[in-house]
Amino acid sequence: MEQYKYYWQKVCGNEKLKLDLELLKKACEQSFRKESDNYKQKLVFKLLEAVKNNDQIHFFYTLLRAINRPDEEFKQLQKLLHQDYDVMPNEVFTNFAYTIILGIMSTYGETGGEKK
C-alpha cells in the first residue's frame, strides 16, 4: 500500500506539501499511550461523532483540546498538526480523521508505553 501512503498533496508556492498518514498515526499512538482507557474511549466516541457529521471544526476543537498538554509525548503530534492543519476536502478529511482515531484506538490497554 506504499502508493497510498501520501494521500493528500497540495502545492504551496513552489513547495509540495504532503500528508503522511502513516507518520500521523504513529505520532498519535505515541501521544496517547499513557492516557487511561476510559478517557480514550470517550474521546474516540466524540471524535467519531464529529467525523460522522462531517464537522471539521468540532473535530479539531475536540482533538486540540485533548492534546493541549505540555508533555513530551504530544510534541510530535502537535508539530504534525501544525504542519498539516488545513481546511481539507471532505474525502481527505475523513481519511485524516480516521487515521487519528485508529491511532488512538490502537493504544488501548497500554500504560507507560508498555503493553500489558
Binding site: 497510498y4 498518514l21 474511549q41 466516541f45 467519531l48 460522522k52 480516521y98 482515531i101 490502537s106 488501548y108
Partner: protein, 595 residues
C-alpha cells in the same frame, strides 16, 4: 498449422493429406462437426479419419460422409434402428472393394450411388410408411374422381397439364430409381411397369402415374433446427433433387447451385445475410475463391451445428481453439464428461468438470497459447420463425484471465456456481469462472450473494470462492489504477511472464487477508450480534465514511480487538488508505462476520 494447399494438378482430390483448421472459426467449427459425425457413425477418431482421408479422400467425402450425414440429420427414430450397425459394416465392406478407375468424375458418382443404396436400405421402413400413406391418398383421389363425374373432365385436364411439367422429373426419377440396388420393392414394381411400356405419360391418366406423382414427394426425412429451406432440407424438394443437391454441395458445384455462391446467413446462421447487410464485405467475396482454397468447404459448412455440445441449462456450447488436435481433445473430453454428469443429473458437476478438463488437456499439451486463443461460442437455440439464433455469446479468454485460470488454486476456487438472486422462491446462480472470463466484476456478484445470505438466511457459498473473487477483483482494480495498465505491459518484459507476477500478488494477498480478517469475529461471541453488525455494515458499504464510523464505533466498544496490531494495520491500510477497493476488503470483513 498448414493451410489447405491449392493444387492445380488434375486429380487434386488426392492431395488433401489431412484435416487442418483454417483459422476461421465457423469453418473450423464445421470441420470439427464433420469429425464428430464421422466418429459417431463409424467410430473413427481424428487420427483414423486422417488416415482414411489420406488414403482415399473421394471415398470419405463422397461415400462415408453422405451416409453418415443423412443418418445424423434424419429423424431420430431412424438412427435407433437395430440393424443400422450391420448395414454400416456391409457398407464399409462394399466401399473397401471399390477401386479408383482413373476417371475421377465417374469414380465419384460410383461411390456416391453405392452409398445411396445403403441410405435407402436404412430408410426403407420409413419410405414404406410414407408409401402406404400415399397409396391411401391415391385411393381417395380415385374414389372422389368417380363420385364427381361431372367435374372429372376438367380435373383430368388440369392434372395432365400438371403432369406435363413433371414428365421430365418423372423420367429422371425412373432412371435414378432403377440404378439403385437396395430400393424398395414397391418402387421397383412401378418402375418395371413404366419401363415395360404399360404407361404412356403424355396421354393417359393411369393409376400408376398418380402413384408416381405421389412418389415424387418421397424424400429423405432430413430435419435440422439450423436449416429450414436450405437445399435438401427444403420440404418441396423431391428425393432425387435432395440427392443431387447433396452431391453438388459435396463437390462445391456452385454453378449448379447458385445458392452456394455466397457464404452468408443461408448456410450459417452466425453470419450476416447478404440481402440485409450488403455493405458488410467491401469486396464481394464469392465462395468460389474460398472453395478453391479449402476443398470440400461446403461439407464442413453444413456440419457446423454438430460441433456444439448441448447442455440442458446453458444451451449449446462449443470450445474453439485454432489448434485442431487440442480442440478435438477438449471437446471430446467434455462430451464424455457431460454424459457422465447427466447420468447423475448434476449440472454443477458439468461446470466443475468443464474447466478441469480444458486445463488438464492444456497441461498435457503444455501450451498456454491454446488457452489464450480459445473461444467459447454458445447459443441457446434457434428461433424457428425468424431463423435467427437466441442468446449468442462469443467469449474469448483474455491473456490476463488465462494466466489466472492456469493456476490450480485460483481456478479451483473460482470453479463454482454461486447463487445471487431470488426470483419467486427460485434462485438464479452464476458460474464465477465464466463471469471472470467475460470480464465482469466479481465484486458485485459476491456482494449479491452475501446480501442474499444475510437477508434471506441462505447458506453461504464456499468461503474460498468468495475470498478469491473479492481479492482478485481488488487486485485487478488496483493494478489498473496504479497505472500499470495491463495494456502497457504488452511492451514490457512482463508480458512474456504471462502475468505470473499478478497471480503471485493475488495469492500473497489472499494469504494475508485470510489470516487477518477472521479476527473481526472477536467483536462478539454471539452469532446473532455478529449478524446484526454485519447487516449494519452492509447497509453502509456505499459510503466509506459511514462504514468506517460503524466499524470503528463497534471496535471502540470492544477495546481489545483494535489493539491487535495486525487488525489495526489491516483497517488502516486496506480501508482508510485505500480509496480504490476498500469495498472489497470491507465485504471480506462482513463475510467473515457471517460465515
Amino acid at each position: 498449422m498448414r493451410a489447405h494447399t491449392i493444387d492445380t494438378s488434375s486429380n487434386s482430390n488426392y492431395n488433401v493429406s489431412s484435416l487442418q483448421f483454417t483459422g476461421n472459426w465457423y469453418i473450423d467449427a464445421g470441420i470439427f462437426g464433420f469429425i464428430k459425425i464421422m466418429e459417431e457413425v463409424y467410430g473413427w477418431d481424428l487420427y483414423k479419419l486422417d488416415e482414411m482421408i489420406s488414403k482415399d479422400p473421394i471415398k470419405v467425402y463422397y461415400g462415408y460422409f453422405p451416409f453418415a450425414y443423412i443418418l445424423k440429420a434424419s429423424k431420430n427414430s431412424i438412427n435407433k434402428k437395430s440393424n443400422v450397425k450391420e448395414i454400416i459394416l456391409e457398407l464399409e465392406r462394399e466401399l473397401e472393394r471399390k477401386t479408383f478407375s482413373g476417371d475421377e468424375e465417374k469414380y465419384k458418382k460410383e461411390i456416391y450411388n453405392t452409398i445411396l443404396g445403403f441410405v435407402v436400405k436404412v430408410l426403407g421402413e420409413f419410405f414404406n410408411d410414407q408409401l402406404t400413406k400415399d397409396v391411401k391418398n391415391y385411393e381417395d383421389f380415385i374414389r372422389k374422381l368417380n363420385e364427381e363425374k361431372e367435374k372429372t373432365k376438367t380435373k383430368i385436364k388440369n392434372y395432365l397439364e400438371k403432369m406435363e411439367n413433371k414428365s421430365e422429373d418423372i423420367k429422371s426419377l425412373i432412371e435414378f430409381c432403377s440404378s439403385q440396388k437396395g430400393i424398395n420393392k414397391a418402387i421397383k414394381d412401378i418402375v418395371k411397369k413404366i419401363k415395360s411400356g404399360k404407361l404412356k405419360l403424355e396421354k393417359e391418366v393411369d393409376d400408376s402415374i398418380l402413384y408416381l406423382y405421389e412418389l415424387l414427394r418421397l424424400r429423405l426425412p432430413l430435419e435440422s433446427t439450423f436449416y429450414r429451406n436450405f437445399l435438401f432440407y427444403n420440404p418441396s424438394y423431391t428425393l432425387e433433387k435432395q440427392v443431387n443437391s447433396l452431391f453438388d454441395v459435396i463437390s462445391s458445384n456452385i454453378s449448379r447451385q447458385p445458392i452456394l455462391s455466397f457464404i452468408d446467413k443461408t448456410i450459417n446462421k452466425f453470419l450476416y445475410s447478404e440481402q440485409e447487410f450488403k455493405n458488410v464485405s467491401y469486396t464481394l467475396l464469392r465462395s468460389e475463391q474460398l472453395a478453391a482454397c479449402i476443398q470440400y468447404l461446403f461439407v464442413y459448412l453444413i456440419c457446423f451445428e454438430y460441433a456444439f455440445i448441448r447442455y440442458d441449462d446453458m444451451g449449446r456450447m462449443f470450445f474453439y481453439s485454432p489448434d485442431l488436435s487440442f480442440c478435438y481433445r477438449v471437446n471430446k473430453k467434455l462430451e464424455a464428461m457431460k454424459e457422465l454428469a447427466e447420468e447423475k443429473v448434476d449440472t454443477n458437476k458439468i461446470i466443475t468438470i468443464t474447466w478441469e478438463k480444458v486445463i488438464d488437456t492444456l497441461f498435457e499439451k503444455k501450451s498456454s497459447w491454446s488457452l489464450e486463443n480459445m473461444y467459447i461460442i454458445s447459443y441457446r437455440g434457434m428461433d424457428a420463425q425468424k431463423q435467427s439464433l437466441i442468446d449468442v455469446e462469443y467469449i474469448g479468454i483474455p491473456k490476463l484471465q488465462a494466466s489466472f485460470l492456469l493456476d490450480d488454486k485460483i481456478r479451483t476456487a473460482l470453479n463454482k456456481r454461486i447463487k445471487y438472486r431470488k426470483i419467486e422462491n427460485r434462485f438464479a446462480s452464476k458460474w464465477v469462472i465464466l463471469e471472470f472470463i467475460k470480464g465482469y466484476s466479481l465484486y458485485s456478484l459476491a456482494l449479491a450473494h452475501i446480501k442474499l445470505a444475510i437477508n434471506e438466511n441462505m447458506p453461504l457459498g464456499p468461503f474460498e470462492t468468495l475470498l478469491y473473487s473479492l481479492i482478485l477483483d481488488a487486485k485487478l482494480n488496483e493494478i489498473r489504477t496504479r497505472g500499470e495498465d495491463v495494456e502497457k505491459v504488452i511492451f514490457s518484459d512482463r508480458y512474456f511472464d504471462n502475468y505470473k507476477w499478478i497471480v503471485e500478488e493475488v495469492k500473497r494477498e489472499v494469504r494475508y487477508t485470510s489470516l487477518i480478517s477472521p479476527l473481526i469475529r472477536e467483536v462478539s461471541k454471539d452469532e446473532d450480534k455478529r449478524r446484526e453488525f454485519a447487516r449494519k455494515l452492509m447497509t453502509t458499504l456505499k459510503d466509506k465514511d459511514l462504514f468506517l464510523y460503524n466499524l470503528l464505533r463497534e471496535l471502540n466498544i470492544n477495546k481489545t480487538l483494535c489493539t491487535n496490531e495486525e487488525m489495526n494495520r489491516f483497517i488502516f491500510n486496506k480501508l482508510i488508505l485505500n480509496n480504490i477497493n476498500w469495498r472489497n476488503y470491507g465485504l471480506i470483513l462482513i463475510l467473515d462476520l457471517v460465515r
